[in-house]
């Protein structure tokens, strides 16, 4: 609980240093804290996309606490790496990450999605410093990220651009328009990560109403990205060593943009939510909240338990 989350000094072209035991432990702890703050925020505000925010937590931890060259005290630093949350509905996970990384105080998280808050339901760059793009209508963030990556290259900056895309989002045609152009321009400082949790808001019904079929056959998403000329890294999106390793590989330019297909579990970390599509937007009740905090290794404080 007291382990320091402070990131190591930026190591832009050699991310191998993140693959050590202490670093992986630090990043894993960061991911756990992201899940805890996400869960707290959703419970406190009574709103939010919990399932997808929990599936992306390990990826956000690796990026914000390891890989991204950023300055939370100087969010507009022109040479910073960019991050675009194309799956903008999973904003609460990003807000928890930004707060833990020092962009704003944790105290602000409970304002999420309420009047006047900088923490809008979907990320709004005009309100909250630290957001590199406003997103929320699916398929768009990756186009913006392609423009950012190309723009940074035109400006002669060596910053990288990262974009997190949902697997359901990959049903949007715009994703493939962007994929085509990114490969055409050989944007090898662009890294897309697909949060491949195999569930979406409603999806395709399987054996019964509780059961959902995966949107694609196994391997289909990987094959599609490869066909569009991207370097594809297919990993376990909850294995911190695998995530860090893939991000390190992606940082070695080979003339292609890289996509990391991160195989994840929606609702990861909460036994009652994992792999259940209804937790796309479901809000925990008091009993689930207390149990969830325990499962996330963070028993409720007295104040929380009394709520």
């Amino acid at each position: 609980m007291t382990a320091s989350l402070a990131p190591v000094p930026a190591a832009p072209d050699d991310l191998a240093g993140l693959a050590t035991e202490p670093e992986l432990a630090r990043l894993t702890e960061a991911a756990r804290r992201i899940r805890v703050e996400t869960f707290r925020t959703v419970y406190a505000s009574g709103v939010g996309h919990l399932g997808g925010s929990l599936s992306e937590a390990d990826i956000l931890a690796a990026l914000y606490f390891g890989v991204l060259r950023i300055r939370p005290a100087e969010p507009e630093w022109p040479d910073r790496d960019r991050f675009v949350l194309s799956k903008g509905h999973a904003s609460v996970g990003l807000y928890a990450t930004l707060a833990l990384r020092g962009y704003f105080l944790l105290d602000e998280l409970p304002t999420f999605d309420s009047a006047g808050s900088r923490l809008q339901g979907h990320p709004d760059m005009t309100r909250l410093p630290g957001l590199d793009m406003s997103t929320g209508s699916l398929g768009m963030g990756i186009s913006a990220a392609v423009g950012i990556a190309l723009g940074l290259r035109l400006q002669g900056r060596d910053a990288r651009t990262y974009v997190l895309v949902g697997d359901g989002e990959c049903q949007e045609g715009e994703v493939w328009e962007a994929a085509f152009v990114a490969a055409r321009y050989e944007l090898d400082r662009l890294v897309a990560i697909v949060d491949h949790n195999r569930l979406q808001q409603y999806g395709w019904q399987g054996a019964d109403h509780e059961d959902r079929l995966p949107p694609e056959a196994p391997g289909e998403l990987v094959a599609k990205w490869a066909a569009f000329g991207w370097r594809v890294l297919d990993i376990d999106g909850h294995d911190m060593a695998a995530i860090v390793g893939a991000l390190a590989t992606a940082a070695e330019g080979d003339g292609r943009p890289t996509v990391i297909v991160a195989n994840t579990v929606k609702g990861r970390g909460l036994s009652f939510a994992e792999d259940r599509y209804l937790w796309h937007t479901r809000i925990p009740n008091a009993e689930e909240y207390a149990r969830g905090l325990v499962e996330l290794g963070e028993p409720a404080s007295e104040g929380e338990a009394a709520r």
Binding site: D124, S137, V146, Q155, V181
Partner: protein, 314 residues
């Protein structure tokens, strides 16, 4: 008697954005594979590294423009209005207008003249759509001279802009002494019998129509409204006060464009009878430019005839 033909707006577009790029390293052009038609090819020859061919994928193109603007570049869009405004409308809404990013949506081929491409390429409701969008401003220059001035203004303005350009040569109306001012309408002819309000490439034809009306003894007051949003309400009210009847004329639907904007403003500030000439809630069709203007009542002769008929019936 009628105004002389000027240079095509698309030529002026290609040359002006190229000249802007000569002066400003932030200027980039994103082309949706229509560089030959829009004259984006002029830009490519001069600044190949800042000309971005995005392929036939306009939703992504507008999204890329937002991303490029977010890192401090100044993107101009090169495609037809049909593909610059309507097809990527949600990208404009979410990625450009809402974050107020500095993208110049410079769509050619607005209105009826599309080289006989017909209704799929003719857009007659773009002003209505863009005018309704928060944070977006909408400007429609009248001729070659004003097109160059509007593009230079757009580059200097910090925020999203829609510039409505047409394909073919319009009549030359303004001399080099003309000064486009953002948000200001211009009286281009004085008169006391009827007030005509018009915009974009329709303005020169309305000036010619006023000449035809003068031959019939009707003195028309003509207000050119290049900035449709924000509307110059004071100028619209002042022009309306000259006569009892206002007629709006535009190469656009009568719903929601200049006619709609003028009717909204006058009903709030100076209730006045407004008649709206333009496309009467219909799509266009393939035909020669001359035939299109005749069919939809937008040639100088047809405008004069309709205005005279409205006055005779009044």
């Amino acid at each position: 008697m009628s105004l002389p033909l000027g240079r095509a707006m698309r030529e002026v577009f290609g040359e002006t954005v190229t000249a802007l790029a000569d002066e400003d390293p932030r200027v980039v052009m994103l082309d949706g594979d229509l560089g030959v038609s829009t004259k984006g090819d002029i830009f490519q020859k001069a600044h190949p590294e800042r000309y971005i061919q995005t392929g036939i994928a306009e939703q992504n193109m507008l999204g890329m423009a937002a991303g490029m603007a977010s890192v401090g570049l100044l993107p101009f869009i090169s495609t037809f209005v049909a593909f610059a405004v309507v097809r990527p409308l949600d990208q404009i809404r979410v990625l450009i207008a809402q974050p107020r990013l500095n993208v110049k949506i410079t769509g050619g081929y607005a209105g009826l003249f599309t080289g006989r491409a017909g209704k799929t390429h003719q857009i007659v409701d773009d002003v209505a759509i863009m005018r309704a969008m928060p944070n977006m401003v909408t400007v429609a220059p009248a001729d070659d001279e004003e097109t160059g001035q509007v593009l230079r203004w757009a580059a200097a303005y910090d925020g999203p802009v829609y510039v409505r350009l047409v394909r073919d040569a319009t009549q030359h109306l303004f001399g080099p002494d003309h000064r486009f001012e953002f948000g200001r309408a211009t009286v281009v002819r004085e008169g006391g019998d009827v007030t005509l309000m018009t915009t974009g490439s329709q303005t020169p034809r309305v000036v010619d129509a006023a000449e035809l009306l003068a031959a019939r003894g009707i003195r028309a007051h003509v207000l050119h409204v290049p900035t449709i949003k924000p509307l110059d309400v004071a100028a619209v009210v002042a022009a309306a006060e000259r006569t009892d009847l206002v007629v709006t004329v535009e190469e656009h639907s009568v719903i929601g464009g200049l006619g709609g904007a003028v009717a909204e403003a006058l009903s709030e500030h100076r209730p006045t009878r407004v008649r709206r000439l333009g496309l009467q809630d219909v799509f266009g069709q393939s035909a020669s430019n001359e035939d299109l203007l005749d069919i939809y009542g937008l040639s100088a002769a047809r405008v004069a005839e309709q205005v005279a008929a409205i006055l005779a019936a009044a």
